[in-house]
């Protein structure tokens, strides 16, 4: 009988859809937890795409693309006025 893995320790890709709610509720949302999560995310991205011997363009271009998308989302309420049609 394989040892059951606690829900707390499973990674996001292994969580079943039904357990997603409880998995999200179990995460650490204290300031140190959030900072830790940001640090982990940054480290993962950095070590995978930038901290290599022959880094490519993808490393920074993905960051810039993310920035473009985010800034478009933040300024959507302003862009809405340039729409060509009123009803879609």
């Amino acid at each position: 009988l394989p040892a059951a893995v606690l829900l707390k320790d499973t990674k996001l890709m292994d969580v079943k859809l039904g357990q997603l709610g409880s998995w999200l509720a179990m995460r650490d949302y204290s300031p140190s937890g959030i900072l830790g999560a940001m640090r982990r995310g940054y480290d993962r991205y950095y070590n995978k795409y930038i901290n290599v011997r022959k880094g490519g363009l993808g490393g920074i271009s993905m960051v810039l693309a993310g920035y473009v998308v985010l800034s478009y989302a933040w300024s959507y309420s302003h862009v809405k006025h340039d729409r060509w049609r009123k009803y879609h």
Partner: protein, 252 residues
């Protein structure tokens, strides 16, 4: 490593001790590091980063969709998403779209044309950095090895110390011997001087005594020569001289 073995064996040994002694010693035998600690050697950097397709989407996304949708799946998803965003005007086509199109064209052209050159230049810079670091490391290793050689030589030299000390001991013994003989010589000469002095004193004394006695005898003899005897002896001498002169005349 051996200390870890001792640490593991210590609690079992501690239980055999009486409790007060065990409590006093316990805090030093708790195993401190139970995991394998190794900070060196640092694993080398990976050669290439994560694969990114078209410079924007990580390869993992394509692999994630491949079992279900095959090779064209993500592209279909992308097209559908784009049409949805355009038709619902979640992405609005305005002046910024034209600007974005121009900028993207220029960027893509620049990357395609100058990418490899820039990459080669960056690689060269990296190579130089790595080469200097490697040179420093090798030099450090070299100095340490020469230090090891020198240390071994010193250890070999120590073995020769016994000969050195024998020679020094011989030197010192010779100095002592020479000094001893010199002093012996000095003692001998001093003693001889004193003895010579005594001998000289004695001979001088005897000589003085002799002289004094001779003088005294002469003085007494002279005193005892009475005037009568003096006249007789002078007359005798004159007669002798005459006889002698006669014989000398005869000889000539």
């Amino acid at each position: 490593m051996l200390s870890r073995l001792v640490l593991r064996a210590a609690p079992a040994a501690l239980r055999a001790l009486p409790p007060p002694v065990a409590v006093g010693v316990l805090h030093t035998t708790r195993p401190l590091h139970t995991t394998q600690q190794s900070l060196a050697p640092v694993p080398p950097l990976p050669e290439k980063g994560g694969e990114v397709r078209h410079g924007l989407i990580p390869e993992e996304f394509f692999q994630f969709l491949y079992p279900k949708t095959g090779v064209t799946g993500p592209y279909m998803l992308g097209t559908g998403l784009l049409l949805y965003l355009l038709s619902k005007e979640i992405y609005v086509v305005n002046h910024e779209t034209a600007a974005a199109a121009c900028i993207l064209t220029v960027i893509v052209y620049g990357v395609k044309k100058f990418g490899p050159d820039v990459a080669a230049f960056a690689d060269k810079l990296n190579e130089e950095k790595v080469a200097t670091a490697l040179a420093v490391k090798n030099e450090a290793i070299q100095t340490l090895q020469t230090a090891i050689e020198d240390e071994k030589k010193e250890q070999w030299r120590v073995e020769g110390h016994s000969y050195l000390f024998d020679a020094k001991r011989n030197n010192v013994a010779m100095l002592l011997e020479a000094n001893y003989r010199e002093r012996l010589m000095m003692v001998y000469s001093e003693v001889k001087k004193r003895l010579d002095y005594q001998v000289a004193m004695q001979s001088l004394k005897r000589q003085k005594e002799q002289d004094h006695m001779i003088q005294w005898v002469e003085k007494n003899v002279v005193q005892s020569i009475t005037p009568q005897q003096q006249k007789e002896s002078i007359a005798k001498c004159i007669l002798d001289l005459k006889a002698l002169s006669k014989s000398a005349h005869a000889a000539v």
